[in-house]
């Protein structure tokens, strides 16, 4: 379990004068559920975007399974084995549930256009196998019976699941989830929590997630990293992070009044 699957070394991403992510160091062990938390605007999603190739960080190095991935295009990074979901759901509208998942399989399919036009037996076999696997994924994430619905017509909670299924379709080894429970009620969050555990246990995945729901983070995570103003301010097991005064300050702010408000005596001690 100690093998490191994702490692960030002093990753820095600036937008003009603003340093969104500054000298970020981070390690995610293989097979873990790691969380990245922090107040709004702390740079969590920017960091995700650096890992998945949407942004090219100015400085630093990102290693996936020991190989540098900084500067690669998003599609190349997906090919290496990292996929993600999005904070605001970004499914392909106009495509059905199954088609969304089939797009997720794109990197694993090999048929070229000429084969598609001729309709070679190999290509047909491949398409059939892909369809079969997509049906299994639909069942796995609990979307049975909605295979042929347009993605935009699914209920909100199921759209999240479809996004996960689409990400799983590329058979990643590392799955990044950007606020998987955003906009969900407590019951739905509980279901998502169980679902995330199932993903790791049944599919042998490493999961790295951004989340605001502390109950979920503290319940599922093996490791929690905390960001504020583009920097990592704390890291450790959920219990350790919960006790870290820097984390509390970041979330609740500092100042005499605030400290008085806090009943936690450890803040006062620091």
């Amino acid at each position: 379990m100690s093998e490191i699957i994702l490692e960030a070394r002093r990753v820095t991403k600036r937008f003009g004068g603003l340093t969104a992510v500054g000298k970020m160091d981070l390690q995610v062990p293989r097979g873990a559920i790691a969380s990245l938390i922090g107040p709004n605007g702390a740079g969590k999603t920017t960091f995700f975007n650096c890992v998945t190739g949407f942004y090219n960080p100015e400085e630093g190095e990102i290693l996936f399974e020991g190989r540098p991935i900084k500067g690669l295009r998003p599609d190349q990074i997906t090919q290496r084995g990292i996929t993600r979901t999005y904070q605001n759901i970004r499914l392909f509208s106009g495509l059905t549930t199954l088609e969304n998942i089939l797009v997720g399989m794109h990197t694993r399919l090999t048929a070229n256009p000429v084969e598609s036009i001729i309709g070679t037996p190999r290509m047909k076999r491949e398409e059939r196998a892909a369809l079969e696997e997509a049906m299994q994924l639909v069942e796995f994430v609990g979307l049975s019976g909605m295979e042929d619905l347009l993605a935009e017509n699914l209920p909100y909670g199921l759209q999240r699941r479809l996004e996960v299924a689409r990400a799983l379709a590329s058979r990643p080894r590392l799955l990044l989830l950007d606020e998987p429970t955003a906009g969900m009620n407590p019951q739905e969050t509980d279901a998502m929590m169980r679902f995330i555990r199932r993903l790791r246990d049944e599919l042998d995945l490493t999961i790295f997630l951004i989340e605001h729901d502390m109950r979920l983070v503290m319940n599922v995570s093996d490791q929690v990293s905390v960001m504020d103003y583009g920097k990592k301010i704390s890291e450790g097991t959920p219990a350790e992070v919960q006790r870290d005064p820097k984390v509390i300050t970041a979330y609740l702010g500092s100042g005499p009044e605030d400290e008085e408000l806090l009943e936690d005596s450890e803040v006062a001690e620091s």
């Binding site: 998945t52 190739g53 949407f54 295009r73 998003p74 599609d75 997906t78 090919q79 996929t83 993600r84 999005y86 970004r90 499914l91 392909f92 509208s93 106009g94 495509l95 059905t96 199954l98 088609e99 969304n100 089939l102 797009v103 997720g104 794109h106 990197t107 399919l109 048929a111 256009p113 598609s116 036009i117 309709g119 290509m123 398409e127 059939r128 369809l131 079969e132 997509a134 049906m135 295979e147 042929d148 347009l150 689409r166 590329s170």
Partner: protein, 681 residues
């Protein structure tokens, strides 16, 4: 009782109609007769204006009295407007502004030959009657409304077009064909088996029975004169095989369409109807009142019973086992193709040349759908690829700098051209080159605009289209491309099978023979694009259209996927352009204006983005309809524009948007095919 908007909206409508009236539209249209001598396009327009407004107003109200009141109000407002205009016209000279009123005074048409005051009163009375009728019509059931409106529309359209379609098919032929088809259709009452093959067989026999019966009539000289038979019947009498094919196939087709899905069933049933209507008007210069009545009754009958028949056919289709359903679908498309293949033989040169143009735009529509409909790249310079295809064929098929080893053909002694210009190709050699060149240029044009999206891409591609046209026009390239004179003559495609031992040598020199080349092109394009759209690349395109960034994050290579869209799309334009060039036997830069691009973009939007049948329908409407509307003379573009606005208001997604792909059904179908269910005892 009067709906709150009735008066306001009637006034708007009246204003529009008055403006049209001031342009002399009523008088202008009166020169075209529709039925007999007295009913002209002008009458049709008047009924549409006064009755139509009344109908729309009546539709908003509930209950007979309210509907009649609203309809009456609408019709009266429009007619009072026209009446006032006539009074004004008689009192004041309007012709100094509205010059067309000099040639076509309004009163001449709308007063029904009466003096001013009695004429106006008569006009108002007629309008009032129309308003009341519109109210009553609006009160009747939807089925009655559909039937009446459809019949009236077909009757008017037939009357209007009779001059152009009066040599398609003779009445005995049309009746024979329709009878064989209907007899085959009627075999749906014989319920021995559900197997499509047997159904077809029974239909075949039914069709033959009709054929033999007709043969008997002819032999006895009953009904028809054996020495003066129209085309199909005389061939059938002389040639046994032809007889079997025509009557048997028609019967079989009838049997198949009787259990086809609703859409193809309805389409198929209208075919014999149209044939009979065309037969009725065959050889006539205008439609007589009794013919009009027959057409009206025929169309009304078919339209009235269509919903029942169509529901029945669809029900029967759904009862069939899956393989039988597939068989039905395939057979109905085969019959549809067969109809397409024999169409130009009957349609004649003029209609076929319009169809050729329609087919060419279908090829381009299918091609551009790859770009806009699937990949979501708005390309307004599609004409560039079309022009490149045409010019490539032109350059390779005639003596040019390319084919004469770099020497200008004008510098060569005409006697030696054959020896020097050894590079001249036949159409079949040049065609693949044209397709390849267009595709490659498409890719090259795609490279600089890879990062552009939406409007920016549209503007840049628009520029490409113009650049290609200006290059073709430019004097610098004159030695190669011929500047404004273009390239001509270009030989027509030649099918010469003598070299492989078959005595067949045919030049595709007229619109009928080139029609088959276009049909082949359309089928090839539709086949390729349908295959691509339903597999890996098509999914990549469609996901790119939905969200480019996420598509890339899902592992799609954006550059490759986009360039493939550019290349494939342009290749189809080149294919169309190549046939176009050799069809016209000459290429001129003026054919490659922005209008071509706009037409193609519009037709796929009207038809439905990403839909191949949509491209067909869009092309028929956008390219075919203006030809038909030539009858409306100067008002052609007005009518055309109004139709487009109405179409987009009623169907914003296009007329035939692509269906949602039911992949799970295909999956289970595949399952059942390969793992047959074990029957439980």
């Amino acid at each position: 009782m009067i709906h709150k908007n009735t008066i306001q909206h009637s006034l708007y409508a009246a204003a529009a109609i008055l403006i049209l009236a001031l342009t002399g539209i009523f008088g202008n249209f009166a020169t075209r007769t529709v039925i007999g001598e007295s009913i002209t396009s002008s009458t049709v327009l008047l009924v549409l204006a006064v009755g139509g407004v009344g109908y729309f107003m009546a539709n908003r109200a509930e209950g007979l009295v309210a509907k009649v009141a609203n309809g009456l109000t609408g019709s009266l407002i429009v007619s009072v407007g026209l009446a006032l205009l006539m009074l004004l016209e008689s009192a004041v000279d309007l012709t100094f502004v509205f010059v067309y009123l000099k040639r076509f005074p309004l009163g001449e048409e709308l007063l029904f030959g009466q003096e001013l005051i009695p004429g106006v009163l008569l006009f108002l009375a007629i309008a009032a009657v129309m308003g009341v009728l519109a109210g009553v019509l609006s009160c009747s059931s939807r089925r009655i409304q559909n039937t009446l409106v459809m019949s009236a529309a077909v009757m008017a359209a037939t009357g209007l077009l009779v001059n152009q379609v009066n040599s398609v098919i003779a009445l005995p032929d049309a009746l024979a064909v329709a009878a064989a088809f209907i007899m085959g259709y009627a075999t749906l009452f014989i319920r021995i088996t559900d197997k499509i093959v047997y159904r077809m067989g029974i239909g075949f026999l039914a069709g033959l029975a009709v054929g033999f019966a007709l043969g008997g009539f002819i032999a006895w000289g009953w009904l028809l004169d054996p020495n003066d038979l129209p085309r199909i019947l005389s061939l059938a009498v002389e040639n046994g095989i032809f007889f079997l094919v025509v009557f048997g196939t028609l019967g079989a087709a009838g049997a198949i369409f009787a259990v086809a899905p609703a859409n193809s069933h309805n389409g198929a049933l209208y075919v014999p109807l149209v044939l009979v209507v065309l037969g009725l008007t065959n050889g006539k210069r205008s439609m007589t009142p009794d013919q009009a009545l027959i057409v009206f009754v025929l169309v009304a009958l078919v339209t009235w019973f269509m919903p029942v028949l169509s529901r029945r056919a669809n029900h029967q289709y759904e009862q069939l086992a899956r393989p039988q359903q597939r068989g039905t679908r395939q057979l109905s498309s085969i019959f549809a193709v067969a109809v397409l293949l024999v169409l130009p033989i009957f349609a004649g040169q003029y209609i076929t040349s319009v169809l050729d143009l329609v087919l060419m735009y279908i090829i381009m529509g299918i091609g551009l759908n790859v770009m806009i409909g699937y990949a979501g790249l708005l390309d307004l310079g599609y004409v560039a690829a079309f022009a490149i295809g045409a010019y490539t064929v032109g350059l390779l098929m005639s003596p040019s700098l390319l084919t004469c080893g770099g020497v200008h053909p004008n510098d060569i002694n005409p006697d030696q051209i054959q020896q020097v210009c050894t590079g001249v190709m036949t159409f079949w050699q040049a065609w693949p080159f044209a397709i390849l060149t267009s595709g490659m240029v498409g890719v090259l044009l795609g490279i600089p605009v890879l990062r552009l999206r939406g409007d920016y891409l549209a503007i840049v591609t628009l520029g490409f289209g113009e650049i290609i046209r200006l290059l073709a026009l430019s004097n610098d390239l004159k030695p190669l491309l011929g500047a404004a004179q273009g390239i001509s003559p270009i030989p027509t495609p030649l099918i010469d099978l003598r070299s492989i031992g078959i005595n067949f040598n045919e030049s595709l020199g007229n619109s009928i023979s080139i029609y088959y080349l276009f049909i082949a092109g359309v089928m090839l394009a539709a086949f390729i694009v349908a295959r691509l759209a339903s597999t890996r690349l098509g999914r990549a395109w469609r996901s790119m259209r939905a969200d480019e960034d996420v598509a890339q994050a899902m592992g799609i290579h954006l550059v490759r996927t986009k360039l493939l869209a550019f290349g494939i799309s342009s290749a189809f334009a080149g294919m169309g352009g190549a046939i176009f060039g050799s069809w016209l036997q000459g290429i001129f830069p003026n054919s490659f204006t922005l209008l071509v691009s706009i037409n193609v973009v519009s037709l796929i939007i009207i038809g439905g983005l990403g839909s191949i049948p949509g491209a067909v329908v869009g092309s028929l409407i956008l390219i075919g309809l203006p030809e038909v509307l030539r009858e409306l003379q100067d008002y052609r573009l007005l009518a055309f524009g109004a139709l487009l606005v109405v179409a987009m208001l009623l169907k914003p997604d296009g007329l035939l948007p692509p269906p949602v792909r039911k992949l799970s059904e295909m999956f289970s179908e595949h399952r059942t095919k390969h793992q047959p269910e074990v029957s439980h005892e």
